[in-house]
């Protein structure tokens, strides 16, 4: 320090004060993220409690009819849950094989140059706004489905599931690719040394070694599919429908929230509270899946030096 001798101490004190002020500001910024979580939980919780004062939780979780905005309202959430899970299951059927095989191709079969082209291309899929996927589903996939299977409704779960599946391919492929690439070279070389073919090395050595990351990517992808909103709102329709038939019009939890908030749901009304009750259900399910994905990743991780 080249401070002029006499003021050394007060200079240091001033400097310390400044350091502390900045430190506190930085801490408060980090605390904001915690505040957001507290806010989300508090808001969902308050309105959900208000909702359950009017509607019994048993009716909500076991009822098979969802007509909350009708004259004679029914508050059974099962049709919305089945809608969300139908779309998510269909999306998983598309995204899991495509994503995993793409990841194996990127990590095991393609050289750095091919990989450098393919990986960013796949990641563009993740950057396209979901409303665009909705448009694609409605104007391309649905007409295609209806030519093959004429009994398909204009709005149907299958079209939404296909498009959401495409949307989450990069989630699955990127995370699985990371997991596969984290498997040490020595393991592969050991297997080759025993005379294994590339196929055998990939499927019997590398994939099992990366299994925790791969499973975590599946769970995270499905969680994204459940939380997906615009594409399913546009393509799957707004018909709460307890069905496993993907060719019918359905409504997901997210699509209901959009539909209800586009309409007139005054603050404090039961319609307003249903938004948060459904939102809470959605939040709990996706949070549980995200936590499960992190747990799988940590619990079953193979450690290599």
């Amino acid at each position: 320090m080249s401070s002029p001798g006499t003021d050394d101490l007060s200079f240091k004190r001033a400097r310390n004060v400044k350091e502390q002020v900045i430190g506190s500001f930085l801490f408060l910024s980090a605390a904001v993220s915690t505040l957001v979580t507290v806010g989300i939980v508090a808001v969902l919780f308050t309105e959900t409690v208000a909702f359950f004062r009017a509607v019994s939780p048993v009716d909500f979780f076991t009822g098979t009819e969802w007509t909350p905005l009708f004259q004679n309202p029914r508050f059974g959430v099962l049709p919305l849950l089945s809608g969300s899970f139908l779309v998510a299951a269909g999306a998983a059927v598309v995204a899991i094989p495509l994503g995993l095989l793409s990841a194996i191709f990127l990590s095991e079969y393609s050289g750095p140059r091919l990989r450098g082209v393919l990986k960013p291309l796949l990641e563009i899929l993740a950057g396209i706004p979901t409303v665009v996927y909705g448009y694609f589903a409605l104007t391309f996939i649905t007409p295609l489905l209806r030519t093959v299977l004429p009994e398909t409704d204009v709005f149907n779960a299958a079209s939404a599931a296909l498009v959401v599946g495409i949307m989450i391919v990069p989630t699955v492929s990127s995370l699985s690719d990371d997991a596969l690439r984290a498997v040490p070279k020595a393991l592969r070389q050991g297997a080759y040394g025993l005379g294994a073919t590339k196929f055998e090395v990939s499927t019997r050595v590398v994939v099992p070694a990366a299994l925790s990351g791969i499973l975590a990517s599946f769970i995270l992808g499905i969680s994204r599919a459940i939380g997906e909103t615009m594409a399913v709102t546009i393509a799957a329709g707004n018909m709460p429908n307890l069905t496993l038939n993907g060719l019918e019009s359905i409504q997901t939890m997210t699509a209901y929230i959009v539909q209800a908030s586009l309409g007139d749901t005054p603050h404090g009304s039961i319609g307003y509270q249903t938004l948060f009750a459904v939102g809470m259900t959605l939040f709990v399910i996706t949070l549980a899946m995200n936590v499960l994905s992190q747990w799988v990743m940590a619990r079953f991780r193979e450690e290599y030096q």
């Binding site: 957001v36 079969y109 899929l125 908030s261």
Partner: protein
């Protein structure tokens, strides 16, 4: 691998041939799966271009929304998206970067810090519509911002907060420790080390992450529907309290109309949105390349 491998120089056994055949089939399947993803992207873009290009002209950018599809344009929506983009950057950037600096440079390695970190990771996985509900209850109702630009921008800011924090943390973590130690060795305080050494080195990475997070905000629809952005607005916003619409919402509004003409204008709107996103991503890539050259 159960079969006997052929001895060196010998003719391959039937088993070996089968194994190699399996290998080739598998390799082709994997390659095909990757191509399906790429192909989906190509078909999607072709679909939008085919429908939207005829309507993608200057009038599209200068006309407001209209009941008549031939006169409809994205002027209000584009202006709204740019407002939202600017305000979201203004709110989210300083807080996220400060949070990232705290977590990487200041925070003690204890249970609380791990909890904050875990919380941020989980926030990044919360569906965007849930942020919309928070925005609706807090910004629109409790703070009384009503259905305004500022309510929308604040909602999207907290939505992309975790994304920018995580990207900034990675950028800060990538600054070599030797730089910090050298600065401390010269008597610098913690903040001097951070502000004059760590931040300048991490800034390109932070900015790249921020731009990518902002392009996510620009494409968001659902949370803005929750906070009451509307699909039909015939003026450009002039202040923070104005009602507003954004490109994705305008597109959604058009998609949900049955007439084919509105489908076309929706596709043209998508082209505007994708152009905006491409420009932002190009900026991010330029930054990244410059950064890599400097190293």
């Amino acid at each position: 691998m159960s079969g006997s491998a052929s001895p060196l120089g010998g003719t391959p056994s039937a088993n070996d041939r089968r194994r190699r055949l399996f290998g080739s089939i598998f390799a082709i399947t994997c390659g095909a799966a990757t191509l399906v993803g790429v192909l989906a992207l190509v078909v999607l873009l072709a679909d939008v271009l085919r429908d939207g290009l005829p309507r993608f002209d200057w009038a599209l950018l200068t006309n407001f929304a209209s009941r008549f599809p031939e006169r409809a344009g994205v002027k209000a929506a584009l202006a709204g998206s740019i407002w939202i983009l600017g305000l979201t950057a203004l709110f989210a950037f300083p807080v996220s970067v400060a949070a990232a600096i705290y977590l990487e440079e200041y925070a003690p390695r204890n249970r609380w810090t791990r909890l904050i970190q875990l919380n941020i990771a989980n926030l990044a996985g919360v569906p965007s519509i849930v942020y919309g509900m928070l925005g609706l209850a807090v910004f629109v109702r409790a703070l009384g911002f009503d259905r305004s630009i500022i309510a929308g921008a604040l909602t999207l800011s907290i939505l992309i907060l975790p994304v920018i924090i995580i990207a900034s943390q990675e950028a800060v973590r990538a600054v070599p420790d030797s730089i910090r130690q050298a600065a401390y060795g010269l008597g610098a305080t913690r903040w001097q080390v951070v502000s004059s050494q760590v931040l300048p080195m991490a800034m390109p990475g932070i900015l790249t992450g921020t731009i990518l997070a902002l392009s996510r905000a620009v494409g968001e629809t659902a949370p803005l529907i929750m906070v009451g952005a509307v699909g039909f607005i015939a003026f450009t916003p002039t202040g923070l309290g104005d009602p507003f619409t954004v490109l994705p919402l305008q597109i959604y509004n058009w998609i949900s109309r049955p007439q084919a003409d509105f489908q076309q204008i929706a596709a043209a709107g998508i082209l505007v949105l994708l152009s905006l996103l491409m420009a932002m991503n190009a900026a991010a890539i330029l930054l990244r390349n410059r950064y890599q050259k400097d190293r």
